[in-house]
Chain length 381, copies 2
């Protein structure tokens, strides 16, 4: 959902738009409640006059009935209350009120005074295109799977996909550090396989390693992946927390493109009246947390996102956010080569089409299946 | 929702019960889909015979119509597929299917071969009672607030609460590292204030520091809190990721009781047909992630959890999970002293009653308000 209007807030406040499932009158009361719940969490009548009441308590900046029973309110908060912590920004924006049904976070309006604390996508669309040497067309991605294959088998897949010209060859997000294909061995072999294919084709495909892991392990695995020559990182922020992804994206020792995967994020977007909008979650918050490419289930696949929700994600991936670069929407989830024409029209060039299992359906020669997909893409770009 | 029946799985498989909003026939098909989606994520017809198909793909173990259109299925997964990572356990249990509405995670059945990788609550109910010297009654907790007060003012509050005999005096979860009360200063002063009160009363109250923070900061703050003499940690796993809480709970350098706060977790439980059950999220998963006390909004307060949902949480906090200790349900969210009799009957002795703003309503003498609350509690235990 694009911004209805931009507020003229001073640089020391930021704003959040919420959709309330309320009458106008009830929405007014609920908006007041949000102002207290998300900040001081203290009975209004007991709050002393002064700075806390005047500045730290949230402030209702706008209130508009969208349709009967649906009201959009915009609440502003003091920048000091969130400091430089992404965890605390998410807390103020939607911490406690996530527990109150009928409130949906629609979008963020963040001033540069707050945005400057975030690097955002390190590469962004332009940077990733440069890295891959791919201009004037959507990018192609695929996934190494299924879990249970050996590192050797996964590397062979990676080699074939790169030989066939797929830009981004990523681990399935279910590949972590299992005995069948331990992390280090898998990542070294797959990175090497893609390098080997690149040497043969002159291409610039990258292998993207899944570094979703507990605590410090994620950082250690990212450093290992970097050392092994991986060309990017896959992170599931629903599993690691958003800030873990941000930290990996901002670490200059790593300096690799980051793809976000939507695992364990679904409940945020399954209700139209609660949770977080697709625009804010898969667009704005993912960019704050450093994603260069945002994977999500495309409409018409195995999942249930609608065309309109996918459009909102694509918009959120490029909506103005100060110095934060735009990210690539990366529709996935049961896509097949047959969907390429339709996706090309819908998303245009600035997207990554992620086709996993679908690339296996045309027979065992994965390089040839990949070449066909590339040809199809170039035909419809 | 308590386990309907215990399955006799071999030690190398664990099970998950899901509630599907489907007819029996559709549920059967959906259960098959879950078996693939959560593991190999690969077209069934392309999967080679052998170990992957026979062992790694999920397996439907039970299917039962609860009422028309509501079916419970139990799916088992191979322990090897999750290894020792909590992130990967959550991924297999509910990663991709969180994106498919109409599937609700109801409960986990984990064998000791998997549970042995988790420490769980370090103190548990008995350990926390020993730590606090409190037996034969529910425990009392309160929160330092509002954000915006100085460290000095917050410490004065902490002193008064401890003087009045409140067992656990925790930071409001909105207190992080803001300029009004920087983390280190606040924690040192509040911990000292509670020690001072304990010396005067002979009591054993603890100050619990909020260490919810980005990445490594959470660990650094926890170590600082330990050094400053805090008696526990408050963590919002919705903001940090569950594994960050687990790591803080399992770190022997810290070895402090952990309270979990529900901020940014609401969307998991706002729909009765999607997301995660209260039992699994606030009971089982919180214990896997090391919480000794689980804060959640009690029925009848500012939030919307029902009596039955609160009962499910209390059950999840003590349901058998191998060697994992039971945690304290910690109902909160707009509770007042008047609710004590009702809560005492509902929860019995094994709960922590968290009363925040409500303790300020009886006038500015917080020590006296606290003493009255303690008296009330002892009267109704």
């Amino acid at each position: 959902m694009p911004a209805k209007s931009s507020l003229n807030l001073s640089g020391n406040r930021f704003a959040v738009a919420y959709r309330l499932s309320d009458s106008l009158e009830a929405a007014w009361a609920r908006a007041q409640d949000i102002c207290f719940e998300q900040t001081v969490e203290f009975p209004e009548e007991l709050l002393p006059a002064g700075e806390i009441r005047d500045h730290l308590v949230g402030r209702v900046e706008a209130l508009e009935e969208l349709e009967p029973g649906q009201v959009e309110v915009v609440v502003s908060y003091a920048v000091e209350i969130v400091g430089a912590d992404l965890t605390q920004l998410l807390n103020v924006v939607f911490g406690n009120i996530s527990l109150k049904p009928g409130v949906r976070l629609e979008r963020l309006e963040l001033p540069e005074s707050l945005l400057q604390r975030y690097r955002g996508p390190r590469f962004g669309r332009e940077g990733l295109r440069d890295w891959l040497g791919a201009s004037g067309r959507p990018l192609l991605a695929t996934a190494l799977k299924p879990v249970g294959l050996t590192s050797h088998e996964l590397a062979e897949q990676a080699y074939q996909f790169a030989l066939g010209g797929i830009d981004i060859i990523k681990d399935d997000h279910g590949l972590t550090d299992q005995p069948f294909a331990p992390f280090r061995e898998r990542v070294e072999r797959c990175a090497e396989a893609v390098r080997r294919a690149n040497r043969e084709t002159g291409g610039r495909s990258i292998y993207v390693a899944n570094v979703t892991a507990p605590g410090e392990e994620a950082l250690e695995r990212a450093l290992l992946a970097k050392a092994a020559g991986a060309g990017g990182l896959l992170v599931c922020p629903g599993l690691t927390g958003f800030d873990t992804m941000r930290r990996l994206a901002e670490d200059d020792r790593i300096a690799l493109p980051v793809m976000s995967h939507p695992a364990f994020l679904g409940s945020w977007v399954t209700s139209p009246t609660s949770g977080i909008s697709h625009h804010a979650l898969f667009g704005q918050i993912m960019r704050l947390a450093g994603a260069d490419a945002v994977i999500y289930p495309n409409w018409g696949g195995r999942f249930s996102f609608s065309r309109d929700e996918c459009r909102q994600i694509a918009e959120g991936c490029e909506a103005p956010m100060g110095h934060l670069k735009p990210a690539f929407p990366t529709p996935a989830g049961g896509m097949t080569p047959e969907r390429i024409p339709e996706m090309s029209v819908f998303y245009g060039q600035d997207a990554i089409f992620l086709i996993g299992g679908g690339l296996h359906r045309d027979g065992p020669d994965l390089a040839q299946n990949s070449r066909r997909l590339v040809d199809l893409l170039l035909q419809y770009r």
